[in-house]
């Protein structure tokens, strides 16, 4: 079924009218309610009356992660704090995290787009869903929760981790839908086999996987291992969390809910639009959000987009899976990691600036591992093993606190980390994504 049939199957011309109206009122709204945006629009020489059609969107300035950081915590908001009913934070590149907040209407919007996602993946109102995304400051768990609640599914909010219990619950309550990161799904297959459970007999028939990049080969592996349909969901907390776009059962790209999240594909260097089908940076404008609406937010995700009709009948454009990033962000176990965060921690260790390298790996059917190699120079070296151990532990703990994921720290000899043209390669990603 299609959750919001009127909107999701709207003829493109009508959709464009709706987007145009919404954009015009959005620009007026942020100009009036957010001093930062007023300033940005004034600086760009854009009057609210200049924005009449969605095609005028290219006149508007971009919003970047830097804008969010510089105006942390509440500078980019268009509503007073008292009107927010929920806030979430995700890790920032350095120092301040990224804060987002939702008004009551924003939560309604989130519930609606997540219900669209669930239906798009194939959920029916009588279904039971096991939500194994983390609940908490991470938007994954609660986003799915609101959508499933809106749709009237039976929710099993297992959150992430405790794999044996996840599998026991799957056996006992037979949910047909599973929502988690794709790597966790494969990891659970291994655990299932050890427990004597045949994954092909599992109750899960539809998986909604996201929060990290994954390949077509991984999809095939998941579908064959679990005998389920594996669909891709996309989102980012700055826009709403999960619920920006979702694959239908035809798996021909992710339907982006363009009536509320208007997509553009641009050349990341020039900022100019890329012709349909070409690769570029996905830029999203939140047409109806209230708490922290964003104009032309640069996601830094590289995708392509098509408006060709889909067999499922939904008319909104479809984006490809994420093909890359315009920055050095890496996603590990659903968590965004920037090398600069690790650098920041290391700088704080006795004020030194050691060379380091991040090695991300994924053994077959295992969760991603993060090894941080730190070169030991004279400043941090001690003849006492216990001090070296303490140093190793201190680096590990501080990085884990910063990133919210487990890492291993390995102390290595100087100059063992390869340098190319004098610059060390900071990230070695061995995963086959």
């Amino acid at each position: 079924m299609i959750w919001n049939e009127k909107i999701e199957t709207m003829p493109l011309a009508d959709l464009k009218n709706l987007q145009s109206q919404r954009l015009a009122s959005l620009v007026g709204y942020v100009y009036k309610n957010c001093p930062i945006y007023k300033q940005k629009l004034d600086q760009a020489g854009v009057a609210t009356s200049d924005i009449k059609s969605i095609d005028d969107i290219t006149k508007l300035p971009f919003t970047t992660k830097l804008d969010m950081r510089d105006n942390y915590p509440f500078g980019l908001f268009s509503r007073p704090r008292t009107e927010l009913v929920e806030i979430h934070v995700s890790s920032g590149t350095t120092g301040n995290p990224t804060l987002v907040g939702y008004t009551r209407d924003d939560i309604k919007l989130w519930s609606d787009v997540m219900a669209r996602c669930l239906c798009c993946a194939g959920a029916e109102p009588d279904d039971t869903i096991q939500i194994a995304y983390g609940y908490g400051l991470f938007t994954g768990g609660l986003g799915f929760h609101y959508g499933a609640l809106e749709m009237g599914l039976t929710i099993i909010p297992t959150s992430s981790g405790q794999t044996k219990r996840q599998l026991k619950i799957m056996q006992d309550f037979a949910p047909r839908i599973l929502a988690c990161t794709p790597s966790y799904c494969l990891y659970m297959a291994e655990e299932a086999k050890e427990m004597g459970i045949d994954p092909r007999q599992a109750s899960w028939k539809i998986g909604i996987f996201g929060a990290e990049p994954w390949s077509e080969s991984m999809r095939t592996e998941i579908e064959q291992t679990w005998n389920m349909l594996a669909t891709d969901v996309y989102g980012l907390s700055e826009i709403i969390g999960p619920g920006v776009s979702q694959e239908c059962r035809h798996k021909q790209g992710l339907h982006i809910f363009s009536d509320v999240f208007y997509p553009e594909i641009i050349d990341p260097d020039t900022g100019k639009p890329v012709p349909e089908g070409g690769d570029g940076e996905l830029v999203i404008t939140t047409l109806t959000k209230q708490g922290i609406p964003l104009l032309r937010y640069r996601t830094r995700d590289i995708v392509s987009m098509t408006t060709a009709p889909c067999k499922c009948g939904r008319t909104s454009p479809r984006t490809s899976k994420i093909k890359g990033r315009t920055d050095d962000m890496i996603v590990v176990r659903g968590i965004n990691v920037f090398p600069s965060q690790i650098e920041h921690v290391l700088l704080g260790i006795d004020g030194t600036h050691p060379h380091y390298q991040i090695v991300i790996d994924r053994q077959a059917h295992q969760l991603d591992t993060v090894d941080i190699m730190v070169e030991v120079d004279e400043k941090i070296f001690s003849d006492e093993i216990k001090k070296m151990h303490a140093l190793e532990q201190k680096i590990k703990k501080e990085i884990e606190a910063m990133l919210s994921i487990g890492v291993e720290v390995k102390l290595v000899e100087p100059k063992t980390i390869a340098r190319s043209e004098g610059k060390a390669k900071r990230v070695i990603d061995k995963r086959a994504l």
């Binding site: 120079d377 004279e378 070296f381 001690s382 003849d383 006492e384 102390l411 000899e413």
Partner: protein
Amino acid sequence: MKITQISVFLENRKGRLCDVCSLLGSAGINIRALTIAETESFGVLRIVVDKPDKAIDMFKKQNITANKTDVVAVEVPDQPGGLARVLKILSDNDVNVEYMYGFVEKFSKNALLVFRFDDAIRANKVLAENNIPIVTADDISGL
């Protein structure tokens, strides 16, 4: 009287200890005492050599992480209970031993042990007060 120990950071990789010892050998630097403390992934080689400054310079040039540590070389009677007596005196005077190891050869009829104390100055004082002989840097380079 303190002497200089050189501590070297070594990853647990094949041939690393051999590399370091070969470097010392080709520079004509003689190892007088040594010990290795190791963990799963790395080790610390601690050595007393006849030319510590030369050794440190060489390690720096070779990008090997090394530093100098003050240790005390103590002559301990080479007989049953000899070490226990020395340790008892130190313990009674609240001097803690971080680690210790033996010299390759004897300096006199006594055994020669390297001590890394938490407080080397206090240790020197206690040892002197109890007439326990310690060895100077000059003695080491002459060994």
